[in-house]
Assembly symmetry: C2
Homo-oligomer: 335 residues x 2
């Protein structure tokens, strides 16, 4: 039932190092896309110009003008003011208070919606990926950090002005290791790629991980998700035990989330899961099943994300559409 | 804008030992109420008759007939099938599969909504009590167990068929004490009245709690919330430390919930909080503030429930009204 110009939406993934832009059709299918590095140097104003340029390039690729799209959705990890569509800071880039919505609405004269990138990615999996058809879906994305989100009965859970569902900062170990957030024992401090890599590097130095030693040495910057996967394949049992222990903690966090929010589907995505899908799915599933209350046992699935890099752009585009539909329906945006 | 018969609703609190029924008006004010013990002996069919009789008695008290009310809302702790309005079991009473909705709809010819009692109580505080005006409210009710609920942007979070928000079973201590649910380290196993009473009774036997020893001895059945409060007032420092430690765990759980759901208000209620409001509010507030992420610090309040025993009946009545309004609006009940 889309009217002219509303059948296509821009979804934009603004990361710490790269940008990814897609035109997404009314059935959540990307019909054109472009990637670019965010680029180093420059302030937020410079960044806005680069974002705008990539959107223009993607529109050209699709043979569209701004008037042909219904709106623009942007997913980004930085802390946001959702009400104003403002990126409060992008630590990796040194940007501060970047008025994404204001700038892009002026540039394209289309409505702009800003969302947390994990929220957008989980929503993408919900509308078109691994959680399609679920009533309630929880997304957990372990990578350098651990992101989380929840779509409850069709709506993304959010704070009033900011994103919520900080699954990476669920405390899973009261006096556990220090987390980047300054607290102790957060899931992220125990089970993120950095936490795993730290333990794996120590194993390298202890002479317990010969394969990893050969591939990456003890340098955390070189121990990526795929490096860990390769070391396990080549026989580093200690590395496998370290990864499984992290996955069990993620399973424990998943169980807590099931006991709280009763999702039908828990979607696992991110670099670690993509590199070791079987290990993560098995271990998280087992730990979660063991740790949920009886009432929820067997009532949820643990599945792998399906949309990969496209999850965030597809979700951001869908959120842009929802915002426009809601505004039209009620005179105010969806909370 | 209520039409005839819709300005008044029945709210019913079906507990493990007592029943409480109220007629609630369109502004969430109880206009008549009746209490009775559930009574021992008898099966679910017998129980339904007693529930029906108490509703009739309350209606009579208010000078109303069933036709004068818009519907009936029932809050109860037993595991429920929300879709069917069925109480699956009431362990204290020995009832199994009690068709609350079916029976009461036939008896009164008014729509019946069944809800978890903590959900109903939190909703009561949200529509008319300590969380009035909040966008998102989390309720935590420490007592014999620890109940929890969340009203997110006006809607109670629920599972598809069952209640969720099992805050008492958040794992706060991975290898902590055994919980009634069979798992270990749940908040309830660490911070409920039974957990506190167990530690306090041990202190009695060690000679560290002379006041409690005099009042209640080491019998857990006699160590109630008010007993603990009295022992603290009379100088049992060890009892105070035990209670504060439990409250700190509740604060830690509250912080996790804030990081996940970004509530503006956390409502604390239940027997322990009613008996020691200052101790609980202070300690939970402090522990929660210390343990939330920076983004949420200062963005939420910890407050005491205001409606006491009336929270569940007021909330149940409001849920009954919502269900009728939703059904009318969309042709299907609110999820």
């Amino acid at each position: 039932m889309a009217t002219r110009g509303e059948g296509r939406w821009i979804g934009f993934d603004l990361g710490g190092t790269k940008m990814f832009c897609a035109v997404v059709d009314g059935r959540h299918r990307p019909v054109a896309s472009k990637r670019e590095s965010v680029g180093v140097g420059g302030d937020g104003a410079e960044g806005l110009k680069r974002i705008e340029a990539l959107i223009r390039l993607t529109l050209r690729e699709a043979g569209l003008s701004p008037r042909d799209i219904g709106g623009i959705g942007i997913g980004t990890p930085g802390p946001l003011d959702l009400e104003r569509g403002m990126l409060l800071s992008a630590p990796n880039l040194g940007w501060k208070r970047v008025p994404l919505r204001e700038h892009l609405e002026a540039a394209f004269r289309r409505p702009v919606t800003v969302a947390n990138d994990v929220d957008a990615g989980t929503y993408g999996e919900y509308v078109a990926g691994a959680a399609k058809g679920a009533r309630t879906a929880v997304g957990i994305f372990p990578g350098t950090g651990i992101g989380g989100a929840c779509v409850y009965d069709g709506r993304l859970l959010r704070g009033r002005r900011q994103s919520c569902m900080e699954v990476g900062h669920l405390k899973v170990w009261p006096r556990g290791p220090l987390c980047g957030c300054g607290r102790r024992g957060c899931l992220e401090a125990v089970a993120s790629r950095l936490a795993i890599a730290g333990q794996a590097a120590a194993a390298v130095l202890r002479g317990q991980a010969p394969a990893l030693r050969k591939i990456a040495g003890a340098d955390l910057a070189r121990i990526r998700s795929r490096t860990l996967a390769q070391a396990i394949e080549e026989g580093d049992e200690v590395v496998e035990r370290i990864v499984r222990r992290a996955a069990r903690h993620i399973g424990l966090a998943a169980a807590n989330l099931v006991n709280l929010l009763a999702p039908d589907v828990v979607v696992l995505g991110g670099g670690l899961v993509e590199a070791m899908p079987k290990l993560f799915l098995e271990t998280v599933r087992e730990a979660a099943e063991e740790d949920v209350m009886d009432a929820f046992r067997g009532a949820f699935k643990v599945v792998a994300a399906r949309l990969g890099d496209f999850a965030t752009v597809v979700g951001a585009a869908a959120l842009a559409r929802d915002a426009v539909v809601d505004r039209r329906r009620s005179g105010r945006p969806r909370a």
